[in-house]
C-alpha cells in the first residue's frame, strides 16, 4: 500500500467543498471518499508479485569505469503494470538514478537500466528490487520489495598502468640489443651481431669474428622465467588511511604494476595476501591470464585489524618457493611493527631470496615536519622528525639484513617498485 501525490490533491480538493458546506459531516464524507478511491485503486492495481524480474550485471568492472545493471521485467499478471521500479545498490556503487517508471501490458516485458559508477573496490551485492504498482487512477498502489540476486565485482583501478609503457621500454633496452651491458652473474647468452662503435670490446666473440669478415659481439639478455612472489600484508598497518584511501590500495596498485611488468618480462608471478592466515593467493603463472586473476583476487582484499604474523609469512614463502626468487613484501615501514615482527625473520628470507620491502609513506608526516606555525606545530614537527629518523633507522637495519627498501608516497610507490625491479633485473640479481 502506497499513496501518490494525487491522493493529496484529492484530499485538498475537499477544501473548496468544505467552504461551500461548512460542516463536520462534509469532512467525514470527503475522508470516506478519499479512502474509498484509494482502496479501489489499490484493488485494481497489478500485483507486484506477479512480475518476473531478471537482472543482468557485468561480472566485473574496473573502479571508476561505469557499469550497467539491467532489469528485465515481464508482466505475468492479467492487469496492465504501471509501476515505479527501484533497483537498489549500495551507495558506493554510485547508482545515479535507480528509479524507473515502467508501463507494461500483460504478457509483455520491459527493460530498465541503472548506470553504476563504483567508487570503492570489492564485491557490491545488489539489494532488493522494489516495485510500486499504481492503480488506473494513479492515486494509490501496492508495493513489494523482492530479493533479486546480483553481484558486481569492482576491480582495482590500476591507475599505475600509465607507468607501464615507459617501464616496458626500459625493459626492452635491457633486452640484449646492446652489449654495453655488463656481463654479470645470471645473464644469459642471447645472440651474435655485428660490432658497432660503443660496444664493450670485452664482448667481442673472437671465435665468431674469425669465422666471418666482420667483428662480431656476443649479446646478452636478462634472465627469463625467474619467479616473483608478491606478498601483500593485509594486517592492521595496511588499514590506515593515507591521503584519501587505505594504505593497502596504494600497495595493490604497486602489486598490479609489478605483476604486469614481470609478466611482460617473461617472469612467473605469484601473489600471496596474508595477515594471520592466507586471505588470497594467485598461483605461479605466466601469460595473459595473470593480470585478470590478480585483479580478481586483489579486488576482494580488505584490511584486517590484526597484527601480521611474519613467521607465518616466512613459512608460506618457504613452502611455495624452492628456488631463488624475488620476494616483494608490500607492507608498512612502521618502526614498532617492523621491529617486533619482520626484522626477526627477514634474515631467513634474504639468505635464499632477493627481498624487496615496499612501503607507502605518508605525505602528511612530511607536511607536519616542515610546519613552523607556533609551538604546537614545532612539537608536531619534532615528532614527525623522530618518526622519520626511526623509519630511516629501521630501513638501514633491513638493508643490513640484505633486503631492498622502497619507501615512497602513495602515487610514487608503484613506479618506484617497478624501477627497483628493473634495476635488480639489469644487475642480474634475480
Amino acid at each position: 500500500m502506497a499513496l501518490t501525490w494525487r491522493a493529496v490533491v484529492l484530499a485538498a480538493l475537499g477544501l473548496p467543498v468544505v467552504l461551500v458546506v461548512p460542516a463536520t459531516g462534509t469532512v467525514m464524507l470527503w475522508t470516506l471518499l478519499v479512502v474509498l478511491v484509494c482502496v479501489v485503486d489499490v484493488a485494481l492495481a497489478a500485483s507486484p508479485r506477479q512480475v518476473a524480474i531478471r537482472r543482468e550485471v557485468p561480472s566485473s568492472v574496473r573502479l571508476t569505469e561505469p557499469a550497467t545493471s539491467t532489469l528485465t521485467l515481464t508482466n505475468l499478471g492479467a492487469r496492465r503494470l504501471r509501476a515505479l521500479v527501484r533497483d537498489a545498490w549500495p551507495p558506493s556503487t554510485g547508482a545515479q538514478s535507480d528509479r524507473h517508471r515502467v508501463d507494461v501490458r500483460p504478457r509483455d516485458g520491459a527493460r530498465v537500466r541503472t548506470v553504476l559508477e563504483p567508487t570503492r573496490r570489492g564485491d557490491a551485492h545488489a539489494d532488493r528490487v522494489t516495485l510500486r504498482t499504481l492503480g488506473p487512477l494513479g492515486v494509490a498502489g501496492r508495493q513489494a520489495s523482492i530479493d533479486t540476486p546480483g553481484r558486481l565485482r569492482v576491480l582495482p583501478e590500476f591507475a599505475s598502468r600509465r607507468h607501464l609503457p615507459s617501464r616496458l621500454a626500459r625493459l626492452r633496452e635491457l633486452d640484449g640489443r646492446a652489449s654495453v651491458q655488463v656481463r654479470g652473474p645470471g645473464t644469459e647468452f642471447d645472440s651474435l651481431r655485428e660490432y658497432v662503435i660503443g660496444d664493450d670490446v670485452r664482448a667481442i666473440d673472437w671465435r665468431a669474428t674469425a669465422r666471418r669478415s666482420d667483428v662480431v659481439v656476443r649479446t646478452w639478455r636478462p634472465e627469463r622465467d625467474r619467479r616473483v612472489l608478491i606478498v601483500l600484508d593485509s594486517g592492521r598497518t595496511s588499514a590506515v588511511r593515507v591521503l584519501d584511501a587505505p594504505r593497502i590500495d596504494a600497495s595493490i596498485e604497486a602489486a598490479l604494476l609489478l605483476a604486469a611488468l614481470a609478466t611482460k618480462a617473461g617472469d612467473r608471478v605469484e601473489l600471496l595476501v596474508f595477515d594471520r592466515r592466507v586471505r588470497g593467493r594467485v598461483a605461479s603463472a605466466t601469460g595473459a591470464g595473470v593480470m585478470a586473476s590478480f585483479a580478481d583476487t586483489l579486488a576482494l582484499v580488505e584490511p584486517e585489524l590484526v597484527e601480521t604474523d611474519w613467521p607465518g609469512v616466512v613459512a608460506q614463502v618457504r613452502q611455495r618457493l624452492s628456488q631463488r626468487a624475488l620476494v616483494v613484501l608490500l607492507t608498512a615501514l612502521d618502526p614498532a611493527a617492523v621491529e617486533q615482527g619482520l626484522l626477526g625473520v627477514v634474515g631467513q628470507l634474504t639468505e635464499r631470496h632477493q627481498v624487496v620491502l615496499a612501503s607507502v609513506s605518508d605525505p602528511e608526516v612530511d607536511a607536519l615536519r616542515t610546519a613552523r606555525t607556533g609551538a604546537a606545530a614545532v612539537f608536531d614537527a619534532a615528532a614527525a622528525e623522530r618518526v622519520g629518523l626511526e623509519r630511516a633507522a629501521v630501513a638501514v637495519r633491513l638493508r643490513q639484513r640484505g633486503a631492498e627498501v622502497v619507501d615512497a608516497l602513495p602515487d610514487h610507490l608503484a613506479p618506484r617498485l617497478a624501477d627497483t625491479y628493473i634495476s635488480l633485473k639489469a644487475a642480474g640479481r634475480l
Partner: protein
Amino acid sequence: MSTPVTTVHDAVVGDGTSTRGRSAQRWRRARWPLALLALVVGAGILSALPEPRTSTLTLAPDNPGDLGARAAAQILAREGVDVRYVRRVADVRTLAGPGSTVLVVGDYLLTDEQVDVLDATGADLVLADAGWALGVLSPSLASSGVAPAEAEVRAAACDDPDAVAAGTITAGGGLLATGPGAVVCFPAPGTGTDQGGAYAVTESDGRRIVGLADMAPLTNQHLAEQGNAALVLRALGRHERLVWYIPSLDDTGGGGEQEPSSGQLLPPVVPVLALQLLLVLVVTALWRGRRLGRLVTEQLPVVVRAGETTRGRGRLYRRGRSYGHAAAALRAGTAARSAARLGLPGSAGAPLVIDAIARAAGRRPTDVEALLYGPPPTDDRGLTQLARDLDHLESEVHRT
C-alpha cells in the same frame, strides 16, 4: 584486461509470500503493541469513570472536605431542588430569575457591575459572608464591620420563622439593620439584636434577601450542629431552583454582555476547514512516509589517518613539556639530512659533521656546534627559535 562478461541471473517472481501469510505476519508483529495500546486506553477510561468530580474550593457544592458544602447541596438535591453550580455571573443571569434562589458565597471578588447583574435577576438572594454586597443590594442592611468571631452557639432571639425553626446555630459575625423591614437574628450571647446578629432577612419588591454573616453553618463540618441545617435548608430550599454562585477571579466581565472567546471570534467555517486540512496533512504524511524499498547499507573502510600517531606523539611531547626530546629530534633530523647532502657516511661522528656543515654553510664551527649540540631550550619560544635556526642552517648547507 579481457572484456567483462555479463552475468544473467535467473528470473525472480514475487518474494515467496502470499496475501494470507503477509496479513498473518502483520498481525503477529502488531498484536503486542496493539494489546499494550488497548491496555493503556482501557486503564485511562477506568480511572476517569467512577469518581465524580470533586473540588477543594471553600463552600463549593462538590467539595466533600470540612470547608466544603457538598452535604447541604446533596440534601437539597435529594429534596427536589435543582442545584446549579456556576462560577460566572453571566451564567447566573441566564439561570436565575424570579422564583429561584441565588446563593452568593463571598463578595470580595465581585465588581459593582456584577452586583448589579445579581440585583437585576429578580431572584431571591442568599448572601453568605458578603457584607458589602448585602449593603449594596439592600439599603436596610449592613455589615457591622466586625470580622466574624469564632463560631459560637447563638439563639434566634427574633420572630423570623426560619430562625425560630432553627432555634440555635453556631455562627459568628454581625449584621445590622439600618432601615425598616429588616429582621436581624442570632445576636452574640449576652447582647441584643440591635448590636448585630449572624443572620438577617429583608424583603423588598417581592424578593427576599437573606444575609449570613458567617459561612460556618453551611460547611460540611458544622451543618449537623445545633439548628444549622434547618436554617440553611430553609433559606436555600425556598424555590425549585438554586443557583449556587461562587465568584471567580477570572470572571471580570461584569456587565450584561458576555465576553466572546477567541473561538467565537473566528468565522464558523474555520474549525471545519482545519479538520479538512488535517486530512490533507495525514494523506501527505502517508504519501511521503512510504519509502520505496529499504535503505541499503554497506561497510565503510577505516578512517584513521596515518598521521594521527605522529600528531599524538607531538601532543605528548607538548603536554610533557619535554623540550629536550623535541629539540633533540629536530637537531638529529637536520644533522642527518645535512650530512647526507654533504656525502658523509651515516656513521660519521659529531666533530666531523660539525666541521663539514660549518664549512658548507660558511659559519663558525662553534656556532654550528651550539645549534646542533647545545643545551636544550626551556620554553616554547626557545624551541620555535631553535626550529627556525635549524631551518636556516639547513638551507645554507650546499655541497661545495
